[in-house]
């Protein structure tokens, strides 16, 4: 026998498995066995235990041959003998020695037996080590130990079945310590020789220890019997059966005796059958199964007489099971019993014990009786096992009383009599309705494919109820070797069929499907007979696939008959509900909107939407909320669908329920919508692993395209993993992303994008490979603390070999799903000194509780081949190596959509080819030394809560600017870093929450003040539409470059100002609430020139 490779690639997870094999290294360097053994010595409970985990596998895997095994055992023994090793370490070593220890460790273990603290674990280990030496050592314990350790030693010797210890152990049977006496009994039972049997037979133990003695006697008897000493075994069993112990105990003696001596047991068992005690009776009945032969059978039949009804029923079952036909006459008599349960049991038993002579009688019972007896008769007919039973049944079913024939036809189906087809076809033409129906039913089960055309002929000629023949045609048709052959005979029959038969044939065609069938059914839509037209339409409506969708849509719109319009619409909606692909289903639903013109058709549509509840159906339902005619129905449909999908598509439900609350007046509806809305916002249930869906390329590509939309300028997404389902992504030979150390999981009820994750207790790793050393790379990812409010993680990058491990993201608290926070998305540059090696290992590290989770990961690659060592490469057309580097710091804002403004801001700055922007979505980045690689830092964030590294970042920023660099404060950036009092030194003016915030959003003019400054030189008053900030405070010297007049208080407020900070420059602009505000030429110009000035460049006149 040869096994295949241990890892058979399983679907899309193949690469995942490969990655598992390649990347089992954690972020920390792997241990060597030497280091690990060293660490074990000092291990104690509650201490780091990597070494134990490592060695638990290392030891058994190294022990493939004797020398290596011995070496491992020796190392474990050394720790065990080391007085400085902890107790925890020694216990652990003993456990490992149980796997690899040999006689060589025995002397060492004997020594540890003498130490009270280690005696128990040494005994424990000796028990598991094979060979005479360990046994001898255990024997010495009998003299050496007292109390609990002695109990342990007796237990061990019992398990080792040490015959040499019997005498010593037998003495302990009378020990005053009941635990010890019980242990002795138990051990003797396991040793199980004649000597032990003698000791056990006369032992007496206290009541609470009797169970141990009882078991020991039985076990000893069992072992004796197995060893051929039946005589002593019998004695013990008889002693147990005759004892005064509880009945449930004693019966074990009778059962044992039945095994070793049928002769002795038979009279006792037969006697027990007559016991008054139901437990003894029932047990005896079961024991008779081990006592074959007509003698016992006869005794059982005789016993029947003396039992009440339920006892008889039980015994009849047992007689049936024995299968001894000598019981048949006695059992048959009970078929006349008064009690139904007894009759049923007898009838059922006769299925096993009787022969084909019973067929007619059983048929009659099945035809005339109801309930239990009828069921039993049918079961017996199906079970009759005599050789001629099938043939006799076929003959009997062909004639005689109709009701009986019906039952016999049913039995033919139940017995799957393959040769029955000709006889059944004949019966299918019988004048009796019930016989015909039964024959068709049987044909549906056993009809041979060859009878298909004949069956269609019978269907075409059928009178009255056509359900059974239709079912038979469908069932036999399904057995045709080629499914394509099903339609032709039906279509042929259609040509000459009567109107009624046509209806039948059309129904069958509707379930058969196929192109030819569709054409034939279509033709019947214009049949002269209304009933045929009707049947044709219904046939289309039940079609197995969506092929007739177009026909139905047309009929729903154009049919002259209102009934048919409704039928067609309903059929169309049914087909839509059967469509598996969500997008295709939505498209089908949308096509019906223009047709749903009448109130009735709209209601019909809304009613049908719930049949396949999904986001698309919800969207269609919600779209009718504006239609006063059917608003109530639309709301009801939306609620119904919402309920159905709230567990799977929370976002769609939130959106629809918001609309509902807005548009519905009905209080009850609003209340329900609000409840559903709240439910959708609730965090998914913690615990209970939801199943991780399979990898789906289409789905992942969609998510990839979505993150690509937000890619920093000049970068494109080259690989994307939706953690959980996706294990690897990237084209061959191109940059590839692969998961390493991780396990897939889905938070129950959470969406696939963020709710499926990779996780482990400590680190989740990914490997980026085949990187272009000349290009720059960034890492994008999303994470979410869906079921807690505790998780915090950092992100690291190292070379593929694990060198140069660099922190990309400091310990950061994850947004909590418990608190209703949304998943967070981040993009960070990967230092080029890592990517130039071609491969990077990314590590997400758990920094809190309970573990480390990642929702999505993607890899961004610069379009251009950036200058070596430069983290952010500018866009291709602007590959200007001398450009000043501008770092836009964003990632949080309590009142603004920073994701929407960060790109437009970078774009407008880069209109000046001397500026190259990079965006970092992490304000804590300010604390990093890396900011010194830039010329200007743009503060485009506002943190509502203190940042983890806010103060540190602020100080770092101040140092950066004072040292001669530039800073730009954008709009609400004035409210950043409020935890750091010196922010005003950098920003010149800062947000004072006590002041009025701003004029209502609207158009206003920005006036350039008279100050001669390179930034505003040549600029004139310009228009914008923005929030006019009225909340900037501070008294340090600044130069105001532009102002605007508030419509509220008619006062002028600064819109742009500059300040000198040490050797550096600060430009602060209050404009730029959103992309629209940034799009005004004047605003863009002001920012561009301000940033250039901050970078130490002479601002240039407006370009284009």
């Amino acid at each position: 026998m040869n096994l295949p490779r241990p890892f058979r690639p399983l679907g899309p997870l193949g690469p995942f498995l490969l990655a598992c094999a390649l990347l089992t290294r954690a972020a920390e360097p792997p241990l060597t066995p030497d280091q690990a053994f060293e660490q074990v010595k000092a291990y104690d409970y509650g201490q780091p235990d990597r070494a134990l985990h490592f060695l638990e596998l290392e030891i058994v895997r190294a022990a493939t041959d004797a020398p290596k095994k011995a070496q491992m055992a020796e190392r474990l023994g050394a720790i065990l003998a080391d007085a400085k090793a902890t107790h925890a370490a020694r216990v652990w070593c003993c456990q490992q020695l149980l796997l690899v220890g040999t006689e060589a460790q025995v002397p060492l273990l004997v020594k540890t037996l003498d130490d009270e603290k280690t005696a128990e674990i040494a005994r424990f280990t000796l028990q598991g080590i094979r060979g005479e030496a360990s046994l001898a050592a255990l024997r010495t314990c009998l003299a050496k130990f007292q109390g609990m350790p002695l109990v342990g030693a007796v237990n061990s010797l019992g398990i080792r079945r040490d015959a040499k210890s019997v005498v010593a152990i037998a003495k302990l049977l009378t020990n005053s310590d009941p635990l010890l006496a019980a242990a002795a009994a138990e051990a003797l039972g396991k040793i199980g020789n004649a000597e032990a049997a003698t000791a056990l037979a006369k032992a007496e133990l206290p009541a609470r220890q009797m169970g141990a003695l009882h078991d020991a006697q039985l076990r000893c008897a069992q072992l004796l019997a197995a060893g051929g000493d039946a005589a002593n075994a019998e004695k013990l069993y008889e002693q147990v059966w005759a004892s005064s112990r509880p009945v449930a105990w004693r019966l074990a003696g009778l059962a044992g005796l039945t095994k070793v001596s049928k002769e002795k047991a038979t009279p006792l068992v037969l006697d027990a059958l007559g016991s008054e005690d139901p437990l003894i009776q029932a047990s005896a009945v079961q024991l008779t199964k081990q006592l074959p032969g007509e003698k016992v059978t006869a005794a059982l039949v005789q016993r029947l007489e003396k039992l009440d009804a339920s006892g008889q029923a039980l015994l009849l079952d047992v007689l049936a099971e024995r299968g001894d036909r000598s019981a048949a006459p006695g059992v048959a008599k009970r078929m006349e019993a008064k009690d139904d349960a007894v009759r049923a049991a007898a009838v059922r038993a006769m299925g096993n014990l009787g022969d084909s002579a019973l067929i007619h009688r059983l048929g009659a019972l099945a035809a005339t009786e109801r309930g239990l007896v009828q069921q039993a008769a049918r079961a017996a007919l199906a079970a009759l096992s005599s050789k001629d039973a099938d043939d006799r049944l076929l003959a009997a079913a062909a004639e005689g009383e109709a009701a009986i024939r019906v039952e016999l036809l049913r039995a033919i189906a139940a017995r799957r009599i393959a040769s029955a087809t000709p006889m059944l076809l004949k019966s299918a033409a019988d004048p009796d309705d019930a016989i015909r129906r039964a024959a068709f039913d049987a044909l549906a089960v056993v009809g041979a494919p060859e009878c298909y055309p004949k069956l269609i002929g019978l269907l075409a000629a059928a009178q009255g109820d056509t359900q059974a023949p239709e079912k038979a045609v469908l069932a036999v048709g399904a057995r045709l070797a080629n499914p394509a052959d099903r339609a032709a005979p039906l279509i042929a029959a259609l040509k000459t069929a009567s109107a009624q038969a046509k209806a039948s044939l059309l129904r069958v065609l509707g379930a058969t499907g196929g192109a030819d069938a569709l054409q034939a059914v279509r033709a019947c839509l214009s049949d002269a007979d209304a009933a045929v037209r009707d049947a044709a339409l219904r046939s289309l409506a039940s079609w197995p696939d969506a092929a007739p969708a177009g026909d139905l849509l047309k009929l729903a719109r154009d049919s002259e008959s209102p009934v048919h319009r409704v039928l067609a619409l309903r059929g169309y909606l049914h087909l839509a509900s059967e469509e598996k692909d969500e997008a295709a289903r939505l498209k089908m639903l949308e096509q019906i909107r223009p047709i749903a013109t009448t109130t009735e058709s709209k209601k019909l549509l809304l009613g049908a939407l719930g049949e396949a509840p999904d986001a698309g159906a919800l969207q269609v339902a919600a779209s009718f909320l504006d239609d006063a005619e059917v608003r109530a129905e639309a709301a009801a449909a939306a609620l119904r669908i919402g309920q159905a999908i709230v567990g799977s598509d929370r976002q769609a439900v939130v959106a629809a329920m918001t609309m509902l609350v807005e548009k519905c007046k009905d209080e009850a509806v609003v209340k329900q919508a609000e409840a559903l809305h709240a439910q959708a916002l609730k965090p998914p249930r913690a615990g209970g692993a939801g199943s991780v869906p399979d990898y789906d390329k289409k789905r992942s590509d969609g998510m990839k395209a979505d993150v690509a939309k937000r890619a920093p300028k000049g970068f494109q997404v080259v690989a994307y993993l939706n953690c959980g389902p996706d294990a690897t992504d990237g084209e061959k030979g191109k940059p590839t992303l692969r998961v390493g150390d991780a396990q897939a999981y889905r938070w129950a009820g959470a969406d696939i994008r963020y709710g499926t994750i990779f996780y482990t207790g400590d680190v989740v790793t990914f490997e980026a490979s085949s990187l272009n050393p000349k290009k720059a790379y960034q890492l994008g990812f999303s994470w979410w603390d869906c079921d807690h409010d505790t998780r915090a993680q950092s992100v690291w990058a190292a070379t593929a070999k694990g060198e140069k491990n660099t922190k990309l993201v400091d310990k950061t608290k994850l947004p909590s799903g418990q608190k209703g926070e949304k998943p967070a998305e981040k993009v960070v540059p990967i230092p080029q000194e890592l990517t130039t090696t071609g491969g990077v290992r990314i590590t997400f590290r758990n920094e809190a509780q309970p573990n480390c989770v990642v929702s999505e990961v993607w890899l961004l690659e610069s379009e251009a081949e950036g200058p070596k060592g430069e983290a952010g490469a500018p866009g291709p057309q602007k590959a200007n190596p001398d450009a000043k580097k501008v770092l836009i710091v964003t990632g949080v804002d309590s009142a603004h959509n920073w994701k929407a403004t960060m790109r437009p801001l970078a774009d407008l700055l880069e209109k000046d080819p001397r500026l190259a922007c990079r965006i970092v979505e992490d304000p804590n980045f300010l604390a990093s030394d890396e900011i010194n690689n830039y010329d200007v830092v743009v503060i485009h964030f506002q943190n509502p809560k203190p940042l983890e590294k806010g103060v540190e970042g602020g100080k770092n920023l101040l140092k950066f600017v004072e040292g001669g660099k530039g800073v730009v404060i954008v709009h609400f950036g004035c409210g950043a870093l409020r935890e750091w009092p010196d922010f005003v030194k950098v920003a010149g003016r800062v947000w004072d929450p006590k002041m009025r915030a701003h004029d209502p959003r609207g158009p206003f003019k920005v006036n350039i003040t008279d100050v001669k400054h390179p930034i505003t030189e040549g600029m004139t008053t310009f228009d914008t539409n923005d929030e006019l900030y009225t909340c900037l405070a501070g008294d340090s010297p600044v130069e105001v470059l532009a102002v605007a007049t508030s419509k509220v208080d008619k006062k002028d407020y600064p819109m742009a100002l500059v300040a000198n900070v040490g050797k550096g420059r600060s430009f602060h602009c209050a404009l730029g609430h959103d992309p629209k505000a940034l799009s005004f030429p004047g605003v863009a110009e002001l920012y561009r020139r301000g940033a250039a000035w901050a970078a130490g460049l002479p601002p240039v006149p407006p370009t284009k």
Binding site: M1, L3, H53, L99, D308, A383, T760
Partner: protein
């Protein structure tokens, strides 16, 4: 005098309170009454044909909560006749040595199962035990031998045997409706990927910690291991490869008995936590090869779709809790022939147990099936630990020529415990 009374009575004869006369009630005791055990306890308290006599748990709060639940229900009966109310014990030995209890429900952590079951049975009790059957192969053998030696009724809590879909899937596979079955695929949840390093502390007064640790190697109390987490700590359980695996493996073996016949080759890999208290695999890929050439792929849910799948050369059937699929789909509407193998029919796992107590037959999840399923998960786990191909001989119930692998099959117990 009938053979059927008094163990099990039909609802129709229950009194006004929905309860059978006291003398006719089956009397139950419950060991381990948190988690899964509380479900069994509640079910029995609500069953008028039963009388719940005692609750046992090392946690005072747990056993007393259950005691109160039972006594509230029995309030009218306490003190009348001999019934004094439901008792509560920390030590199961006090429960099993009572002679007024007929059946014991066991829902303790797995490393206790064998001792609890064996003690109950050698004291004449019938046993319903939660899965997995035991922690080791040796313990499974001890339970099986005790059932046979004492003629007890033993039902393992692998309740998929009382689910029509699982039975039907196995019947399709056994009776050739899928053609020649060449592959069986089994996937179950992998469990926890890791537990923290837990700091020892004094055991809280609520717990009798000695009775919690019992036969396992002693270590100081931590909140981490004295909780649901025991599933993922090797001293107490082999992880969900066993504890969850036993359900689907049992269903797989039902339809593919070759995997518990003769010799079976096993090879596999697994991932284990690298630190912390948990040291059981959480992700595994194990291949088994039976003598008849059938293969089984046993993985966690990350490896293949969850459930049990029998694949033959003419079709397949895939069954999970609450669903069954097949190809061709018509298989699902198929009715078995009288000459086909019909597997044991049970529609209620508890009900089947009570019925068998009355008739003294083996229940649907009998001890042999329980041993095979449990041992299959154990040997799969061992294969991943030793990291090499092993061959298990079902006749000898040992690995062939692999001392290290065989050493995993038995673990010594702390005194005074033994089996």
């Amino acid at each position: 005098m009938g053979i059927a009374a008094p163990y099990f009575v039909h609802a129709s004869v229950l009194g006004a309170e929905g309860r059978a006369p006291a003398s006719d009630r089956l009397r139950t005791g419950h060991i381990g009454v948190g988690g899964q055990g509380s479900g069994h306890f509640g079910g029995c308290v609500g069953n008028g044909a039963l009388q719940v006599m005692a609750a046992c748990d090392p946690y005072k709060s747990k056993r007393e909560t259950r005691q109160k639940q039972a006594n509230d229900r029995y309030a009218d009966a306490i003190g009348k006749g001999t019934f004094k109310g439901c008792d509560a014990y920390a030590d199961f030995r006090e429960l099993v040595t009572r002679d007024d209890i007929d059946a014991v429900f066991i829902a303790s952590p797995e490393f206790w199962h064998a001792l609890h079951a064996v003690w109950a049975m050698r004291h004449g009790k019938d046993v319903y035990c939660e899965k997995a059957m035991t922690l080791t192969l040796y313990e499974s053998q001890a339970v099986r031998d005790t059932v046979r030696r004492h003629g007890r009724v033993y039902q393992l809590g692998t309740q998929q045997r009382s689910d029509r879909n699982f039975r039907f899937a196995a019947e399709l596979a056994l009776n050739g409706y899928l053609g020649k079955v060449h592959t069986v695929k089994v996937a179950v949840p992998g469990g926890s990927g890791g537990l923290p390093i837990a700091v020892p502390k004094p055991a809280p007064p609520d717990i009798d910690y000695e009775m919690w640790v019992g036969p396992a190697p002693w270590k100081p109390y931590t909140d981490t291991h004295c909780s649901f987490n025991w599933y993922f700590i090797y001293d107490y359980c082999i992880g969900w490869i066993g504890s969850w695996g036993v359900h689907h493996i049992d269903s797989a073996l039902w339809g593919a008995p070759a995997f518990h016949t003769g010799k079976v080759e096993i090879e596999g890999t697994a991932r284990f936590p690298k630190q912390g208290m948990g040291n059981c695999s959480y992700s595994w890929r194990v291949n088994l090869l039976a003598e008849n050439g059938q293969r089984m792929f046993f993985t966690d849910d990350g490896g293949q779709p969850h459930g049990v799948r029998f694949e033959g050369d003419q079709g397949w059937v895939h069954v999970v809790r609450g669903g069954i699929k097949a190809e061709p789909e018509s298989l699902l509407r198929l009715a078995l022939k009288p000459s086909d193998i019909h597997l044991y029919q049970s529609h209620s796992h508890h009900g089947n147990f009570f019925e068998c107590i009355r008739t003294r037959r083996d229940p649907v999840s009998d001890v042999d099936a329980g041993l095979r399923a449990t041992v299959t998960t154990i040997i799969a786990d061992v294969a991943t630990r030793v990291g090499r191909k092993v061959v298990f001989d079902w006749t000898a119930e040992r690995f062939i020529a692999d001392d290290v692998a065989n050493s995993y099959l038995r673990r010594p117990m702390r005194s005074p415990w033994t089996l």
